[in-house]
Symmetry: D2
Subunit: 361 residues, 4 copies
């Protein structure tokens, strides 16, 4: 298993959906930092289930307990461990799944990988509940980045076929990002947001689920941040973002659209503006050769529809070796995308702060 991330700031996630607790150890934080608990809690709240009809009714207070790493309320240079107790677990919902894997889930692959020893309850270590400690760690990293005037924000770019307006690739402001972080349903176009909510509720009513896209923007990265070849911004951000369950694709700048473009269009011309180098356009999403160009870093992550749906599905019974049907019980989100927004921000903050610490300049 490899539930750790980072070279300079190391994040070790642990826990299962229904284990005693889950959590994170963060090793490599600078000493003397006072964690902004309000920020951490507000981000955790955005991720937590039970907030509205759009998400699972499982109620978890998601209050982290910090076991170590602080002295007098400040980081003391030792690894910080935060745990979340699991409380509202209904493990009996999962008895059947041990042998009848849910389509679209990790049940089958985890079963094979572990020779049947995997923790099936709530999806075990593969549960989206592991994003609670991820968001905790990300909030800390985001705080440290903001001290360097690096800002991260994300919005729901689409739910099913309903699209929000994209980020302005050149002129997005820190204020716009902060506003998104206050919004209960973060979109740039409120109208689009309402259509999305309707779309999600429709899916829920049909006992089905929908996918969507989160778009993330980072402002203030020092030009040159990132490392060549295997530790470029794209490599590291994607390595982190694919750690969020249900992500099936990621693209930077114009992403897949660049495949249909031409060099004369896609090349972002350099120019001096106010004494500093900028590009007139930003098709490359603020990244050239894996390194920050100083323009807004923009990427999108595609989330598949929640695999847990209330409709009956075809599956297999691994204990008998026969085909069977399955109706997933348990409490699930009809769309993971709204709760995924703070997760994408967190993964991004972790990847970027790690690169920031490793920057030799």
């Amino acid at each position: 298993m490899s539930s750790d991330f980072g070279k300079y700031l190391r994040i070790q996630l642990f826990g299962q959906s229904h284990s005693e607790a889950l959590g994170v150890v963060i090793d490599g934080l600078p000493a003397g930092i006072e964690p902004d608990m309000d920020r951490i809690l507000s981000r955790l709240k955005r991720r937590a289930p039970g907030g509205s009809a759009l998400s699972s009714p499982r109620k978890e207070p998601d209050l982290p307990e910090i076991l170590s790493g602080l002295a007098g309320g400040k980081t003391c240079g030792a690894p910080l461990c935060a745990v979340f107790r699991n409380k509202d677990t209904r493990s009996e919902d999962y008895d059947e799944l041990k042998h009848i894997p849910r389509p679209g889930h990790a049940d089958y692959t985890a079963y094979i990988k572990t020779g049947g020893a995997n923790d099936i309850r709530g999806g075990g270590h593969f549960s989206a509940r592991l994003t609670a400690p991820l968001v905790f760690a990300g909030a800390l990293c985001a705080q440290l980045l903001e001290e360097k005037e690096i800002y991260i924000g994300a919005h729901i770019r689409s739910v099913g076929s309903v699209e929000d307006r994209p980020f302005d690739p050149v002129n997005t402001t820190p204020e716009a990002l902060k506003e998104l972080q206050q919004a209960p349903f973060p979109v740039l176009d409120r109208q689009a947001g309402q259509s999305m909510e309707t779309h999600i509720l429709d899916a829920a009513a049909r006992k089905d689920s929908v996918g969507g896209i989160v778009e993330c923007c980072v402002l203030g990265l020092p030009p040159g941040l990132g490392e060549p070849i295997f530790d470029g911004l794209e490599n590291r951000i994607s390595a982190a973002v694919f750690g969020i369950p249900a992500v099936k694709g990621i693209e930077f700048g114009d992403g897949f659209e660049t495949a249909r473009s031409t060099g004369s269009v896609n090349n972002d011309a350099f120019c001096y503006e106010g004494g500093r180098v900028r590009t007139k356009t930003n098709h490359n999403g603020g990244i050239l050769g894996g390194l920050a160009s100083g323009m807004p870093l923009i990427f999108r992550a595609a989330f598949k529809p929640t695999p847990s749906i209330g409709l009956p599905q075809d599956s297999v019974d691994l204990s008998t070796g026969t085909n069977t049907q399955l109706t997933v019980k348990g409490r699930h989100d009809p769309c993971v995308v709204p709760r995924a927004v703070p997760c994408v921000e967190a993964a991004t903050a972790i990847a970027l702060y790690d690169l920031y610490l490793g920057d030799k300049r």
Copy 2:
């Protein structure tokens, strides 16, 4: 800098486009393996420039010299180092670029990162020429994977708006993949391939360039391969593939399409077929929870149009702090996608063989 990859098999790339040599050290190979030099050379040849009017006229024989790691023609357990001498370099083409960065390239970001100490000749360490040692390492990994009956193949899925047929997500065969590896212009639909070639030559004639998409398929992965959260197949493959210059997006299975889908469609139902578990569809691209499901692993990587184009472009002069124009000299591919196919295969082989070695089962 971080030009290394892998936890169990470590790949360290080195070199610049116009340095004495470039190469790779591969640490962690099993002992007693005889590298299949024919395979290595044929893959390098597919990557090499100068092959046709579709690519840069720079002629590099791309013949690796193996400095270490072999005894009696077999791996001896020590790190294997292979180097490629740089011969057909025209460093004078790059004099101007030191201060006038090429739009869409790493020139500017590398300059800032290194305080101007970067090697500008041919793009230095950011040059696509670094994919020669990548392909070398990948060919070795592919050989080792094939001994486990794991096969990797890729085709040009699109050039600009011209599309090839996609891989059959359920029924693609090892033979189909091998056939693609023999093809000078690997596509599934020959007609589409001819349109692509025309499209590339058109762009070249306009002194412009085009982007495209490479689609890759892996067969025979043992179910359960991959690690959870940060070392899933998606995380590791994307971390490797973004190591190839010009990649701006990656998606697995239906990728960004899943964001527009519903759970009832996107969930791949399990069934027994010939005594083993399969899925009837493969929207998840052979990956569930980051782990191999046993179905074909399929992903696509989007390549932006080659930034080096013959048309005049707006840029800046970093030495004078003024705006200027630039016409890129040097010899460049009007489309990197054909030569990128073996690179994508190589990056995939390296990521998968590393996970294979790390598998605790």
Copy 3:
């Protein structure tokens, strides 16, 4: 900070002497293993303070709570987190030390490193209390190694100038090692043990402390285990063993004695014995070229005298910039060596199991 160890099995320690809790996350354990809690608890008990007049009167039950990583009592493939709550803390004993560093301790260096943000209470993250989670992780690794018939045991080789008999470098048996693990004061020569106890009590009576040497033996290592150059057995074991507070030296086989020897004596002649290759002598301590030779692996770790002593000592007041005197309060061991025995075994087990998992054969 870098409180993690291991490439294939990763151990992340966290916690401070007086934080809410301390603990360990173990990532990479095979799935389906039932931790032998009796073994774990018995090893923790040997490490725990308060056992006798020879150790600190601080009473900590040292009962680990396993927060994650198990399902149905067996490892489920997810990271295992075990925590130890801190209970019998007397933080007020440490108020003065924030500005008056204890000689021989990390107080001063930690203060400088963290700009004064370090947790001074009980030595913070530098406390020997961190060996509780180390012993927990080591006990698990030892269990896994024993399944491969690899046995680890250690004894008190010396306390001050009182010496125990050394391990027989050629003929030590697994039974002898197991016996040592049952012993409350593990020595090979009971007489020597009694002299040591007297020596420790004498030091305690003088409000002083004494050092000593732990000698460790590993049986059953598969020949060839270890990696060349930087990941040899010596490199990895010493990297782990220096993680135990107060270790100032380590030597393998005849160690420093080999510096006074000659090749004709020190070279261990090979011979066939019962059909397998052995060496007649074992001056090299079971290691050749960093790799296991199949003979008993033997090493010794030197522990300095506990720096916390009841005598007044010269120190500085960092708040006033003046010289001062200090009398250390708190409860401390007059000799760390008896409690260090299970720590050395644990560090060794962790280093070896990590190498075992990484062995490509």
Copy 4:
């Protein structure tokens, strides 16, 4: 295999004694540095064989060729690769050894590890010749450390039973260290040095070999350098130094002597001197809690006698499964210690510079 070292500056060694070449890739060097080739060559020369009757008559010019990583003579931020061609190889000397392992060497363990695929010629990857690229990398690191006024120097502390004067643990100066680096046979007491030389020649005359101790001192380390638990100065230096063939022990400060000491003696009292904190004594060798105290860092590494000796020795024939005798041919040092001095300095420089780069302050 694991012939790499470092987290922030990564050193990848490659090559075998008789392969085409051996070398090193150094990834993570700051950009814009001009390698001091005179320093590098002078250190390589001290390591090179053939210098005097005290060492092997194998003549290798040890001239590194830098293949990559420089532009205009300065580091360009890309990995630096330096290779050493192997020239004066006599592989025929090693034919017999493939099946008759030399006592005290890695021949047997490497054979078992690789299933007989190891490169036996000259010891292959286990040869002390691999210290040439180590010294190259170390010289670069030493140059970078000296820019921070951190100085490293070592002397021959003993050969057999002949002892040099120890470093003054409190008052050693940078000048004294530099002087040692100019000396062909670096000792503090010239008289002792001459006795050592006689001792070595005597051993050579007897076709035997002798061991010895190298003592190393580092001045100018910023207090607090190092990381707790597993990345302390002791852990990292020992992990590097055991990468030099023939090292069997390492001790810091008073090392094994501390085991015989008491707290009241061994604790180094703090005091203000010239406005800064120092310790009156330095029994802890400049390290407290794994972190630099600001006092001279002092350690000793024990080298066993060269295992290659001209006397007949008992061994086994692995091809026939019988006992046999062996007389080692080839050209070997009667004592590795003089040539080991620059190797110890190099390993120390690499370990320290890596920690320096990783220091978060």
